[in-house]
């Protein structure tokens, strides 16, 4: 054995770590990135996503110039009215999705909740419940209740039987859709037209213009934004939601009423979607139809995701998605581009923006 005291200095001169030439790609998790850099990453990936969408549309036969002129057409004063009408349900589903995502609950049952919101509202009309003066309010309340009940079913299944809410909410969308068909092809079918539609609502059962071309549905949506903003940022339950999503086990140990808060938040989420259903049947359609909830699940996910679950930003993003919706409708009518195109573009945007999170959260280095 050697008994010399060795100082731990390099015994040989350092040689390059990589005699064979190639380096190694390594990945670190990083804690913090300045906000402006985050904005640059998100912004550039958003632009990339939109560029891919434009390219696909060009392949589908819509040259970028045509697209630009159609987009300009949508933003003119008379078409803006349509955009605002469309924005109302999108804001509401965006709020619904974002409050649920705030506590890590994947509410993908937005369409089902919209359907039941519409059905509950229509029931008030069809069974002529309450005086005409308060009829609209009653319909709105019924719609919120319908959406909330439909999602609380899933909450029950999750808390009681540990049923995964992603699958349960998605499957219940199909169940809700067939229940709607059951009504529209059966008891609630309008006898006069023989189309799968209910009888039209009476004038006092419809959301109408309140001046300047603005529909009262938008007022409901704006009230929703303010209420959600208060709930998330100022109320005690909003404080709880942060702990429930950040660390539910810890939240329970430090005394956050996890279960109660979860149930309330999810009920509110469902109520928002139910209201969105009410807004669609009571303003755009004026009656219960087959398709008033189509395409809203992923729109809700997208709006919540892009707004980072912040109610005020939800309103802005929802407005932009409304522009996309209306453009999509135009392209459908004049260029025979199917409306599913909207969903495809939404998905591309989410993928692009989500990818930018990779650069925000990780540091990639090439070590030679």
């Amino acid at each position: 054995m050697h008994d010399i005291l060795r100082r731990a200095e390099p015994l040989t001169s350092p040689v390059p770590a990589s005699p064979r030439g190639f380096g190694r790609l390594t990945l670190d998790v990083r804690q913090n990135l300045p906000p402006w850099k985050q904005a640059v990453f998100v912004g550039s990936s958003l632009i990339l996503g939109l560029a891919i969408s434009v390219a696909i549309l060009a392949l589908a036969g819509i040259p970028p110039l045509t697209l630009a002129s159609e987009l300009a057409g949508v933003l003119t004063a008379e078409n803006l009215r349509g955009v605002l009408i469309q924005a109302a349900p999108l804001i509401l589903v965006g709020l619904g999705a974002s409050v649920a995502f705030r506590i890590g609950f994947w509410n993908l049952g937005i369409e089902g909740q919209m359907i039941f919101g519409g059905i509950f509202a229509a029931a008030i009309s069809i069974y002529d419940i309450g005086p005409p003066a308060t009829r609209l309010i009653l319909m709105g309340m019924a719609a919120a209740l319908g959406g909330a009940l439909w999602v609380l079913l899933v909450v029950f299944l999750k808390l009681r039987f540990r049923v995964n809410e992603i699958i349960a909410t998605l499957l219940l969308n199909y169940v809700a859709m067939y229940f709607l068909f059951h009504l529209l092809y059966g008891a609630w079918q309008d006898a006069k037209t023989a189309f799968p539609q209910s009888t039209p609502f009476r004038p006092f059962e419809r959301l109408t213009d309140i001046g300047y071309g603005v529909n009262s549905g938008l007022l409901i949506a704006i009230a929703g934004v303010l209420a959600a903003g208060w709930l998330i940022h100022l109320s005690r339950i909003g404080f709880y939601t942060r702990f429930i999503s950040a660390n539910p086990r810890m939240a329970k140990v430090v005394g956050v009423p996890v279960q109660t808060a979860t149930i309330w938040i999810i009920a509110i989420s469902g109520a928002c979607s139910g209201l969105a259903g009410f807004v669609n049947v009571a303003s755009q359609e004026g009656r219960l139809t087959q398709s008033y909830a189509n395409g809203y699940v992923f729109s809700g996910v997208l709006i919540a995701f892009l707004s980072r679950n912040d109610p005020i930003v939800v309103a802005i993003v929802a407005f932009l998605i409304a522009v996309l919706f209306i453009t999509g409708q135009t392209l459908q009518v004049f260029y025979q581009i199917p409306f599913t195109m909207v969903q495809m573009i939404e998905a591309i945007i989410v993928m692009a923006v989500a990818s930018s999170e990779f650069l925000i959260r990780h540091r990639i280095r090439w070590i030679r």
Binding site: M1, H2, D3, L5, R6, R7, A8, E9, P10, L11, T12, P14, V15, P16, A17, S18, P19, R20, R24, T26, D28, V29, R30, Q31, N32, L234, S235, R236, I237, G238, F239, Y240, R242, F243, A246, N247, R249, M250, A251, K252, V253, V254, G255, V256, P257, R363, I367
Partner: protein
Amino acid sequence: MNSALQLAGIRKSFDGALALDGASFESRSGEVHALLGENGAGKSSLMNVAAGLYAPDAGSISINGAPISLSGPASARSHGIGMVHQHFKLVRPFTVAENVLLANPQPHFASGLRDIRDAIKKQVDALKFSIDPDRRIDSMTVAEQQQAEIVKVLVGGARILILDEPTAVLTDAEAVGLLEIVQRLARSGTAVVLVTHKLQDVKRYADVVTIMRGGRTVATLDPRQSTAEELTELTVGQTSALPERTPHQGGETRLNVGALTYTRADGRTMLNNTSFFVRAGEIYGIAGVSGNGQAELAEALIGAIEPSLGEIWVDGAGDIGHAGQARRREAAIAAIPADRYAYALAGSLPIQDNLAVAQIRSGRYGSVFRLDRAAMRRDAIAAVKDYDVQGVRSVKQKASLLSGGNAQKLVIAREFSLEPEVVVAHSPSRGLDARACAAVHQRLIAARERGAAIVLISEDLDEILSLSDRIGVMTRGAIVAEFERPADRQAIGRAMVDHA
């Protein structure tokens, strides 16, 4: 004797934080080379570089004097470097043989598994181990899992064996057995690197010791020619003593745990009639080998899990084992859990929120409708100052940005703000450096002086011995023996093993 593994001038940073700062290390065939240092000194990082898991930012690696480059763990293995990690790298639902096969791939699964099984049996016999190649890892004790890890590395033909804190999870007797085997391996020509923070192991079993501090290798010397004080000084830099404590007065019983039983969802009984009591002004230490129900006991006491049977009686609040959260709050139990980011902190939330959350329901921080953030901020700034939490630029910064010791101070600040009658601390100094560790111990002793009843659950026998007034030994989910202070270390060690 020639140089087997040589690391020179290794630098490595994580997210800008320097973990290794020009560390150098050389181990030779036939000797046990200890790598000594505190938690966070960079020992594991340096060895992870040698094992090909981390790519160094700078520096060189040589085997038998020839410089090599490592593209990953597989290439390290092909150079004969094998590492047994502190957290075993075993696939739990696989058998021993499947794990060994995974690390030593064969062209065909079925025949490969047969060959591997034979190779394992040979190694097991040679080392006098006791493991069966066809047992699943998740049905084995920690010591057996460690044997599986060592066999896995040796079957792969490792000539350089790195053991990262191998005795941390073992009883004293198991540790002695392991280290003797390791010494024998070295005598037969293997270069063994023993990463540890235990001075005793170094003095008794190492031929050479390299000491690390703050990401650097400070010295390499012969442990037999140096005193424990010298080694400690090189490792820590400075040490601090525990504060004076008054002799225990024997107050009234504050906490009584009666016949507590907990069966996990998979059917394993983790707590089996655990019974003990703690008086006011007393620290009750619970010693035992990791995995004997300590984690579940702590979880039951802080309300993370509900026990299947038995009671947790707290003076003034009654049985809280099955009570709702409101009753638990009345009991005023402070929880200092082992895994801070599992049960004590929400790392992604601001420091001030983490501090305020325990008292939010009392109305101290505003009504149901309107939060009072100014009050939160005021209290948070005061708490950060009182408890000497370092590295806080703003109380709005994320809690996860704090180092382990400061995060622990944050937890203690919150939990002690409620003037608790009962404190449950589970491995409160795990992963902390000497100074932070001393600060945590001082807080616990201060709480004892104030008259709180304290349960201290720890796998670190030194921590238990230095702090506790009474000590219970936990084995297989039950308290099997109790000792009064001053307790005999050997007797406790025997109690931990005898009942296993």
